[in-house]
Symmetry: C2
Subunit: 141 residues, 2 copies
DNA sequence: AATTCATGATACATATGATGTTACATGATA
DNA sequence: TATCATGTAACATCATATGTATCATGAATT
């Protein structure tokens, strides 16, 4: 199944943004992410609304960081993207009235909820700045 | 995104199987699950190979439990299904050589791994028999 | 032995949703 | 006014879980 790569992509994009002087255009970011400018606009839109980046139209415009990376947790980004559905495994809805199916779904949901909580906890403990620190010493674009 | 419902479905099917006397045909199970007999065969095939159910061809044939439900954990079923890919969110592979993307992916993978471990732990602590116990008292098909 | 039932296996169709792509309106700078 | 860049919408592509159809094989019934 094709996975949703937006979180990874915006992380990648934000890390690049910090290494740049001025604003980066969607086109430029698209080159870094090996994708289309329209995809960049669509994906970064959520981050703008959440106040993590700013976008400016016209000449010299583009995307800039609106907040230091050490004040952006991965969880905040995930939520800014609309909290994309996390799982490729889910409940069945074959026989909603059947108690046996309900029991099966309840157990599955319970496990998925626990996994989701763990995922969110992990994301909440890391900032984007932490990721930059984890690249090789002296590394720059 | 369309989710993989196989685990929920086989749980549902096993619970029904226990409530039946003889073997159940794929056709019958398909009715319970509101799906096709071929889908049932395909899905249950993994459980047969893992020794949780047995299938018999021909007249009076069908599917039967090969082991008491209290000896089948949800995790064992999940693995018998081939450990279906759990997440709808994943790494990007836009610029494999880029250290920044690598750092982003490493953090994401770490969170996903933790979530997967939690999911598997939850599944390992519940047997199919436990689910049956959770239906309303006196409930039967 | 022939018939019927049921699984086993394969191939193909369908549906869904993330991503890719194109096009154009809007706003900002030169 | 021309150019650049975002904002937005519509549509195309692609991957894949599930649905569907078909036939070979094996087992019980007659």
């Amino acid at each position: 199944m094709r996975t949703d790569n937006r979180l990874s992509r915006v992380l990648h994009a934000l890390l690049h943004l910090q290494d740049l002087d001025g604003p980066a255009t969607s086109e430029q970011i698209g080159m870094m992410l090996n994708t289309n400018a329209a995809v960049v606009r669509r994906t970064m839109g959520g981050l703008r609304e959440a106040g993590f980046v700013a976008s400016v139209k016209g000449h010299g415009g583009g995307w800039t960081l609106a907040r230091p990376l050490d004040q952006i947790t991965l969880l905040a980004l995930y939520d800014a993207l609309g909290e994309p559905s996390l799982f490729a495994v889910g409940r069945s809805e074959d026989a909603p009235g059947c108690q046996l199916e309900q029991a099966a779904n309840a157990a599955l949901s319970s496990a998925l909820d626990a996994a989701r909580a763990r995922f969110r906890q992990e994301l909440s403990e890391v900032t984007v700045a932490d990721l930059r620190d984890r690249t090789a010493p002296g590394f720059s674009v």
